[in-house]
Symmetry: C2
DNA sequence: TGACAATGGTAGCCTAGGCAACTATATTAC
DNA sequence: GTAATATAGTTGCCTAGGCTACCATTGTCA
């Protein structure tokens, strides 16, 4: 069948898994740097992880999301999420409200201050992404996105365990 | 100029950075799972991170690497590396020896036991990688590798800070 | 040679994610 | 209606990476 890697061509460290890890580390580090050095945002001490939350809350124009939604969407631990939201709330960027319909749920939304800071964060995130994609054509970038999406879809399909 | 993302098409969460993060998380989780459930390897309690070290030591047929080399190659913290090597040494998979030529260096190599366990680890890692790449043609996989390599190269070039 | 910088490795402290236990609320089955 | 189950969120514990200070060794250079 169509396996990509076999014993003749699998070189740990040069394979997709390793590359993926390293690119991700580098992108997060770059984003952390930019967020920390930006005059406007430095006081907020935003981490890349926090940006991701804010981005997801800002994304949908309407519907405030719940914490559980967020965890699923970004593959993040629930306990860690609680603490992350604590930090963002302490900075005044987000607001938590118990949902009236389902009192287990927290409705999450950006505060006025959060919405105000968002455009600059978005700009920085875009710049970083563009830097990593320097030299890519738009077609290539779309292709890369598509590849990654396909890998994500493969992730949760019948995990044919390796014999065991 | 050729920026990939601009304000009209940048949707946080659907972009390459976010995808990358999630794919990486899923791959590591899958690898951890397989390593933990494999009959042969379960007693070693290998984490994906530890596998990466072992893989890098096994890779070069000759030359034992130094800890500092490893840190560079996989973008890993030196302090964390010390502790990681402690664990691997405790399991009897690797050996540390002071270099005679430069007594600051540690020469790292797999023990007999490490070499013995390696093939099975490699097999598992390959299986996981192949699962994530299910449906990919070999050409597509090579393309994906190339994209990621280009992003890595971009990572360390003149970090045109976002105005600041 | 002898001061000084650079490099490799280690240890301590801090932060943050993963997991398990727990509470509160909602849903399902009987 | 009540018991059993599932879900959302919080908390405590554990682990592990990042950062900084530190020691030993090596290289530089005057």
């Amino acid at each position: 069948m169509g396996d990509i890697y076999d014993s003749t061509n699998y070189q740990p460290g040069r394979t997709i898994g390793g590359l993926l890890s390293r690119v991700k580390v580098e992108m997060l580090a770059a984003l952390d740097q930019e967020l920390a050095h930006d005059k406007r945002l430095a006081p907020l001490e935003m981490s890349a992880a926090q940006w991701i939350i804010v981005a997801n809350l800002a994304a949908g124009p309407g519907e405030p999301k719940s914490a559980a939604d967020l965890c699923k969407v970004i593959s993040y631990d629930a306990g860690a999420m609680t603490r992350m939201l604590d930090r963002l709330e302490a900075k005044g960027l987000i607001r938590r409200t118990r949902s009236a319909e389902d009192r287990r749920l927290l409705k999450l939304e950006l505060t006025e201050e959060g919405r105000a800071a968002y455009p600059r964060m978005r700009e920085i995130a875009m710049t970083v992404a563009n830097r990593f994609l320097r030299g890519f054509t738009k077609t290539e970038a779309r292709q890369l996105e598509a590849f990654l999406n396909r890998m994500l879809e493969n992730a949760h399909e019948g995990s044919t365990r390796a014999s065991a």
